[in-house]
Symmetry: C2
Subunit: 269 residues, 2 copies
DNA sequence: GAAGTCCATTCGACGATGTCGAATGTTGAT
DNA sequence: ATCAACATTCGACATCGTCGAATGGACTTC
């Protein structure tokens, strides 16, 4: 691990948390000399990863991070495959459809199909939700050992609302249920008034690469079985397109993720 | 400029251009030993700025860049101020509305209000367009010396279509015109069949912080004067909300941007 | 089958390079 | 007028990143 690069990325993370900071504040949060931070920030500045407000001297994230994010979405096969089915699913259910991938112990929304009712909705692509408070996160963790470990093994479960599951044992049980039904749920655990159901998405290696889910208001809850079935079949279809041979993925226990069973270049045998 | 950080950002840039690369390919493009690149990539990997495909070993951008991009948008005052007026402008004109900021010699779209006709449209936030082939870029460069220098001073103007202005003299004239009218135009210079008009957005220091523009098809061109007036007044309104005292900004020549006239913390005098 | 190639990855020694504290010159606050 | 906080510059030190060589897979070719 390269020290200076690690520090640079830490600086970006700090700036991600608190949007406007002086050089000294950044240095303080990382417990580093201001002069050290200055050198790194100057480099980030040159690449427009950060910008400096010209009147106050405060630092903020820069436009270059946005273009990186956009390219990331373009490169995501998961996203292109999900686009068409998410639209179909939204039409069938009348609900918003979210697709997400894991980021350590959070999920990141990579696709958002708005409710078809035409209501104005915030763009949700790129938002981050603690995995343990999200149906999407639970759906993934049910089938991915690393994800489950990241959530359960990394300190206490933080409460977002009064409904958030903060007990590791309870969460573990929910993951077992999700594995039994192929569906994970969440009721007002991240945002009051909002509930979700989600199903895991897998690829050719059987790895949990993401999840797709429906978002409903509490008064629409519980959802009709037909909606859940529509979700299940959408997840199966997308997974098939990603090369999965069976869905839901087999296994009583979550699968260890990829690496190790590593193979280069899949070619016709 | 910290060498290793600079290299890390270069790696991200390379990955932004070519989406899937092996370690060796990255090393080759940067003319560095594979082993050196490996150390940096491992650090990027730990922060999920890049991910490694588990079957091929190829590297791609990771989900962390997406969340950074999302936060950048949230922090952008320009964006929140433009949102309401862009919607109004789209309704009045029936056209899509784009808002962008400069990124060296490109513009980055930070807000996109779709045409109100309900047609399916790709999400355009985050896309990058060469500034010299974009009405948005011209609108900014007309009032920002640094931007103009970045475009005109940095090598030849690359052609996107047959209509792209590649002659520095012609472009300079267009910038003069834009400064005279407050409006910059572009006719099939970036994408065939697509035209644009744009107006600069300024802040309290009179700096060109971005531009707002209309996107039309070639057969809708030229636009009715009423539409251009609507654009002009939207740009004025947004600029006022950003603290601009006059719009369009004065000055026969583009203003030198900020720094130097630096002042910390604007407080009541 | 076996040799050959391309790949990511590990290791250790060298010295270039990042790091740090002190010093500078701002600006706004007292 | 004094003070405090700030970004920034500088130079010396030693740490830390860099590099070439070596390893061990996996696929391809003979």
């Amino acid at each position: 691990m390269i020290q200076s690069v690690d520090r640079a990325l830490r600086i970006l993370a700090v700036l991600q948390g608190d949007h406007r900071l002086t050089l000294g504040e950044i240095a303080q949060r990382l417990d580093l000399p201001a002069s050290t931070v200055h050198g790194i920030v100057r480099t980030l500045l040159a690449h427009r990863m950060v910008v400096q407000e010209h009147d106050s001297g405060h630092y903020r994230l820069g436009p270059a991070v946005l273009t990186l994010g956009n390219v990331y979405l373009d490169t995501l096969e998961l996203r292109s495959r999900v686009t068409v089915w998410a639209e179909d699913l939204a039409r069938r259910t009348g609900l918003a459809v979210r697709t997400a991938v894991m980021l350590v112990d959070d999920v990141v929304v990579v696709h958002h199909e708005p409710r078809p009712d035409g209501s104005r909705q915030m763009p949700e692509v790129g938002i981050v939700i603690p995995a343990h408070a999200s149906s999407l996160g639970k759906a993934i963790a049910a089938y991915d050992e690393d994800a489950a470990e990241a959530i359960l093994g990394g300190g206490p479960l933080e409460a977002m609302t009064g409904e958030t599951v903060t007990d590791a044992g309870v969460l573990r049980t929910q993951l077992d249920e999700a594995r039994a039904t192929g569906i994970a749920t969440e009721v007002e655990e991240a945002v009051l008034g909002e509930c979700g159901v989600a199903a895991v998405l897998t690829d050719r290696l059987g790895g949990a690469v993401g999840a797709i889910g429906l978002v409903a208001t509490t008064d629409e809850w519980p959802l009709a079985p037909a909606m859940v079935n529509a979700l299940r079949s959408a997840a199966r279809r997308v997974s098939r397109e990603l090369g999965a041979t069976s869905w839901p993925p087999k296994g009583d226990a979550p699968r260890a993720s990829a690496m190790g069973t590593r193979r280069r270049r899949l070619r016709p045998a």
